[in-house]
């Protein structure tokens, strides 16, 4: 699973962690409905999660589109805006769990956050 966060929002460590875990939980719950065996395999292998960064909203949306086209589970986190950023701001994109190769094909050029 990869969690791709917007670097331009300058979120604090705690904010970033919370947004990423929203994505992680929602992706897991969605994937459990569509592909429970994949989720089990992923969890048994350590539930690998990697946090990457993009520089703006457009790149995040483009990646979301590509991942959906590839048939992967995606989740875009919209912040409720209680703190730090305005309500409705898209902060993080979660992709997966999915086979490593399928994810790498999309995000191999991104930098770790």
């Amino acid at each position: 699973m990869v969690l791709i966060a917007r670097h331009d929002l300058k979120m604090s460590a705690g904010k970033l962690a919370v947004q990423c875990s929203h994505a992680a939980v929602s992706c897991t719950m969605n994937a459990r409905k569509t592909n429970p065996r994949l989720v089990e395999r992923w969890r048994n292998a350590g539930a690998r999660k990697i946090c990457l960064r993009v520089d703006d909203l457009a790149s995040l949306q483009r990646l979301a589109g590509q991942a959906q086209t590839a048939g992967l589970v995606t989740y875009l986190v919209k912040d409720a805006g209680h703190t730090e950023v305005p309500p409705g701001t898209v902060t993080v994109l979660g992709i997966g769990p999915a086979p490593r190769r399928a994810i790498d094909a999309l995000v191999s050029e991104l930098k770790p956050y």
């Binding site: 969690l3 966060a5 705690g14 962690a17 919370v18 992680a24 939980v25 719950m29 350590g46």
Partner: protein, 138 residues
């Protein structure tokens, strides 16, 4: 079905427990004794959140449902070190709050097996407040 098992079925308490009334949240306490980057912390808290969610699905489904229905509120707090996290875990267990410890596999940044995050809940906010009320936001 025999008469006794029928009686049992209609009189036994529901396995899912009492419905909650009131806001529910999940708290992740991050070990500040380790020098982790922002992305590392985010991934570790993600581990804790997913593990706690699964745990709640098995043990306290009512909590999970309530929490998901109310926007899966999460809060990230600072813990001093591994001992501090374990001490909080003990308090939470005593209070009947679900606890999850995340140990890092150590692929990056920190030694393998380090205790990175303690996840508590999902649970009623008041119950969590008693345990983590004095901790600072991350």
């Amino acid at each position: 079905m025999g008469f006794r098992s029928f009686l049992h079925r209609i009189t036994a308490p529901s396995p899912s427990g009492e419905p909650l009334n009131g806001p529910c949240k999940m708290v992740c306490v991050v070990n500040q004794g380790l020098k982790m980057g922002k992305g590392k912390i985010a991934a570790q808290v993600g581990h804790g959140a997913v593990m706690a969610t699964m745990e709640a699905g098995a043990k306290k489904p009512m909590n999970l449902e309530q929490w998901l229905a109310t926007g899966q509120k999460k809060v990230c707090l600072k813990g001093r070190d591994a001992e501090h996290l374990l001490e909080l875990e003990k308090q939470a267990k005593a209070a009947g709050v679900l606890t999850t410890l995340v140990h890092d596999a150590g692929h990056t940044q920190i030694p393998s097996g380090s205790l990175t995050v303690l996840a508590l809940g999902p649970e009623m906010e008041a119950a969590l407040e008693e345990i983590t009320g004095e901790l600072k936001l991350l």
